[in-house]
Symmetry: C2
Subunit: 325 residues, 2 copies
Amino acid sequence: MRVTVLSGGIGGARFLSGLRRVLDPSDPITVIGNTGDDAWLFGLRVCPDLDTVMYTLGGGIDPDKGWGRDSESWRAKEELGAYGAGPVWFGLGDRDLGTHLARTHLLREGHPLSEVTRILCARWQPGVRLLPMTDEPVETHVEIDDPETGLRRWVHFQEYWVRLQGPVAHGVRFDGIEVATAGPGVLQAIVEADLVVVPPSNPVVSVGTILSVAGVADAIRTARAPVVGVSPIVSGAPVRGMADRLLPLVDVPVTAAGVGEHYGSRTRGGLLDGWLVDASDAGCVAELVSIGLPTRAVPLLMTDPAATDEIARAVLAMADAVGGR
Amino acid sequence: MRVTVLSGGIGGARFLSGLRRVLDPSDPITVIGNTGDDAWLFGLRVCPDLDTVMYTLGGGIDPDKGWGRDSESWRAKEELGAYGAGPVWFGLGDRDLGTHLARTHLLREGHPLSEVTRILCARWQPGVRLLPMTDEPVETHVEIDDPETGLRRWVHFQEYWVRLQGPVAHGVRFDGIEVATAGPGVLQAIVEADLVVVPPSNPVVSVGTILSVAGVADAIRTARAPVVGVSPIVSGAPVRGMADRLLPLVDVPVTAAGVGEHYGSRTRGGLLDGWLVDASDAGCVAELVSIGLPTRAVPLLMTDPAATDEIARAVLAMADAVGGR
């Protein structure tokens, strides 16, 4: 069985680790990774979501933080602070820097991001094929009230989230998305899949970014495989991250039902054939089923590998139940 | 007294530490630093000679190696090696990376190298004014027989020295030197100095590079201050470095007398008013004096701070003895 997953960072990566364990090793998994978080920092190209997937599945992740390298040190960053050089709010660990340096070197040599990602993954052997959603630069920006000046302005997503810790947002845009084309293999991975999964990643700035790449949403709407989603909202709040700050920007209630309706049923022009909500949100199942979206309530907190594996199994069971087109 | 010193890396930096201790703190020292060693590595601008001077005088140097940061770690570099990414032969320490990242960030913001160096030195407080010889990129290349292909080719000086460990050289050139102009304050520092010193740095790829910048050699030839040099060759060999490999390229014997003659006496169109050779080379003093170059033989091995201070004192004494123009 060929499975294709649209993934952001931590939530998607953890789900993928369960999926990889639950599936047979011979079942190929393709990950279409969000690159809207990517940024240039100190002349280095940083790809947080791609790296989180690569490190998590390759055994190099910091298991406590959920991002960055295990056994990390911060000596280069301390030096940057000693120089008073900005931006020092971004977590540039010494080991992580090795990845950014290697990636930037390859990009400067002329390799597209998809090829660079393949080369980096050759070391980590994540057990999935990790495809950037696009080789073109797309950078997510968020409109905020500047905490210092009070003036409304657009900031890079990394500044919004890491530096400013997710203040109230007035707008979100994906700079570069109009001219970005799907990366090599991305559309084909959706068309040829036996199952497409929307994991518990941010619907606006992770899945939403991937869906904004030309052709991706249409490929999902018309895919022959079942498309199953997992709610990132549990009991009216994101499990982690700042979806509660960003969902209102696209007029979506911060509820499992709201996100399910946002993605919509493929029978009615939407994206999903099935939707998983947390057991605590079981109350919305009937409502969603009534609008044509088969929904099941199962425990969705990825508290440990066993719980994560159960979610992956629930996705596979849902796919069996709903079938494709 | 205003002292201006033309400096390469380790030899110049160690001499400067002695000079700084020996002079009154109110006597300003200006260092014209070689930037021909500079390189782009993984998208970062690396300035080895400037950093060696800054770290040595600022108390951040690795005292054993003589270059790079004290208490250094190499985790980013280990990661680069794990990716199979090149070039990993260059010693990119984690702490040192902080300097390269800060510098590259400032350069990309549009600051010239002289301004960037001033900002970096604001942290280290080296006790000297450190001026890059030029703000324009100049990169030293050396012609070698490629050890893998046998073909003759030009390599960056860092590759020649750090990666290939100084093989036989067939040529040396300073790429960019034709269009490089002296950095802000460089010529003025020579014109206004009360003493100009050529420390025991490599005559070809350190001092030679600085002297190749338009206007520098002429400013030294016509300076009102005495110009005193210290031989980097002791007993027919460089104290450290690869001057023995490079001096033949400019037809200079690898001897203290040879380098003294190469720089030449200002009374005969050269650069020096006085020349210090090691006590072991005392046999050449009469010969050099006979061609118009006042020369003294004193211990020149900078084995410890006290010995280094004595060399600085010998330079000051020589300057007193020979006077300016």
